[in-house]
Amino acid sequence: MRHVFKKKIIYCGVVVIILIILLHPDMNASRSYEYIEKDNILSSLHEATAVNFTSTAVLDCDYNDIIHDETTLSISLIDGDLIEGHKIREGGEYAPSNCKPKYSTAIIVPYRDKAEQLRGFLVYMHTYFHRQHIHYRIYVVEQVDSRPFNRAKLMNIGAAAAMKAGYPCLILHDVDLLPLRPANLYACTEQPRHMSSSINKFRFVLPYLNLFGGAIAILSKQFKTVNGMSNEFYGVSGEDDDLYSRLEANDLKVCRFQPETSRYHMVSSKAERRLVQRKKQTSFTKERMATDGLSSLKYTEVATVLHPLFTHIMVDL
């Protein structure tokens, strides 16, 4: 009798151990996470417009309808053209004319080689932003040298340009990500925000809670506080994890909107992304944060061209 009992206990123990091994919590993604409720979004946004921005409109723009917008934009927009009379100024700057926007945002897009993808991205994003009544400008930072792609340094360069132009809010955006819900307002929250937390290629789940890549919104002053991103990530991934560590070191907590609002469509294939991001480099230290980043940003600017849909900064790293 006792023998049978012992056997049962051993079996239970084995089952529990196997379950613990198989359910390894750090390997499991989550579909839901802590997020800002829809009704609290407006109060958590940082209201500020660019330094030298003035609007002739009298009425303030209303963002309530946008936050509660349930529609989803169609991806087929990337194959189309912009509507006539879109009123986008040279350099890809736009502000609604019928109301006074409360938010100014600089969208920084690191880029290299994929002209067709960039075209689709610009057409889509301008159409998308037209529904959000914000003042924005798109900066495309292109790496023209033949060194491995350095996403983080290009972000720094774009951010520096945008801050020089007086933008209070930066959105660091990958060219292959398209926001699907107009409710995902492209403005900065008081805390840095991870915007792309529900990407179609990732089964609409958040792979891990510390993920802070893809599309993020951060206030210019916060970006300055953390000394921007690291300049040393040539051809390797992990720059987003490094940025997360920088925020953590400065007691900045990351926030998100709810998954349904944060849906994104990834254009490039996952394999393509994986090929680019093979090695992971994580050697974050507070000392390095102070010396490596915006403060140590060195590059050669080849040209800055104001295209009809975007500001094109070409750099040699």
Binding site: L19, L22, L23, H24, P25, M27, N28, A29, S30, R31, N200, K201, F202, R203, F204, V205, P207, Y208, S269, K270, A271, E272, R274, L275
Partner: protein, 276 residues
């Protein structure tokens, strides 16, 4: 050297017309699938065409085995094949697909729950069948050297059992009345496990779309052969889909052919009760 000659022998055994049997055959037959299944899956990761070719070859092989005279399939090769396939698919799911960080805890738990139900029923099915064979089961007591009208001689198990349903070479045991329900339940759970596993796997490696609420379906499976991890997961999913298809056919067959036979006595009982 010895190994290769023995291996050759068993392959020979699979060829129709050969009746040779050797003592060591059983062992090698049992081990062989543990190399063949992963090997085939690895080969299939090369390209789309190779995947299709490998899957067709496996399907043809299975069909060929099914169409052979049953008593010739006396080998532990087939059960090993089933088992090694299960192990392969499980390992790929737990190490490959979960490694993409895209499966949630709940999805993984449901998968493991279904899998443990499957394993439980199949384990029960095999132990009951074994009990029947060794004579410790109910049928053993009724054993008589004379075959009664409802007794059959199972040529593979080499025993006579009454109410023999059929012999499953893939499970290497007879499916009798006592374990028939386990056979059915096991297959139903296996079907569910495979469907869930392939859905999770394919939506991970392919581009998914939202079917309804949290239910995703794979949409576009381009560019999976560039990355080994992705292609092995994809190939395993296709293989699992094939298995699910076979299981679906088995279940449908059971519904049509065997279920009425199994439930008949119970119906009679019910009718008798009503007759009173």
């Amino acid at each position: 050297m010895v190994y290769t000659s023995v291996t050759k022998l068993c392959i020979k055994d699979l060829i129709p017309g050969s009746t040779k049997t050797s003592g060591k055959k059983i062992d090698i037959d049992a081990i062989l699938p543990y190399f063949i299944v992963p090997g085939l899956l690895l080969i299939a990761t090369i390209s789309r065409t190779v995947t299709i070719a490998v899957m067709v070859v496996i399907a043809m092989g299975a069909l060929y085995v099914q169409t052979r005279p049953r008593q010739k399939n006396r080998s532990s090769f087939f059960f090993s094949w089933t088992f090694s396939s299960g192990v392969c698919m499980f390992l790929i799911f737990e190490n490959g697909i979960l490694g993409f960080f895209e499966i949630t805890m709940i999805e993984n738990s449901v998968f493991l729950l279904l899998l443990s139900c499957t394993l439980y029923f199949f384990y029960k099915m095999k132990t009951i069948a074994e009990n029947e064979l060794t004579g410790s089961g109910t049928k053993g007591k009724e054993y008589s050297p004379v075959l009664t009208s409802d007794s059959h001689y199972c040529q593979i198990c080499q025993i006579e059992v009454n109410e023999r349903y059929f012999h499953s070479i893939w499970w290497d045991c007879c499916i009798l009345r006592p374990n028939y329900i386990h056979f059915l339940a096991g297959h139903t759970f296996a079907f569910a496990t495979l469907l869930l596993g392939t859905n999770l796997g394919l939506t991970t490696v392919c581009q998914p779309f939202i079917l309804y609420a949290a239910i995703l379906m794979p949409l576009d499976c381009e560019d999976i052969y560039y990355d080994f991890n992705m292609s092995i997961c994809f190939v395993a999913c296709i293989y699992a889909l094939g298995y699910a298809l076979v299981i679906a056919m088995v279940l449908i067959r059971q519904l049509i052919v065997y279920l009425p036979k199994y439930s008949e006595p119970q119906w009679k009982k019910l009718v008798n009760v009503l007759n009173v």
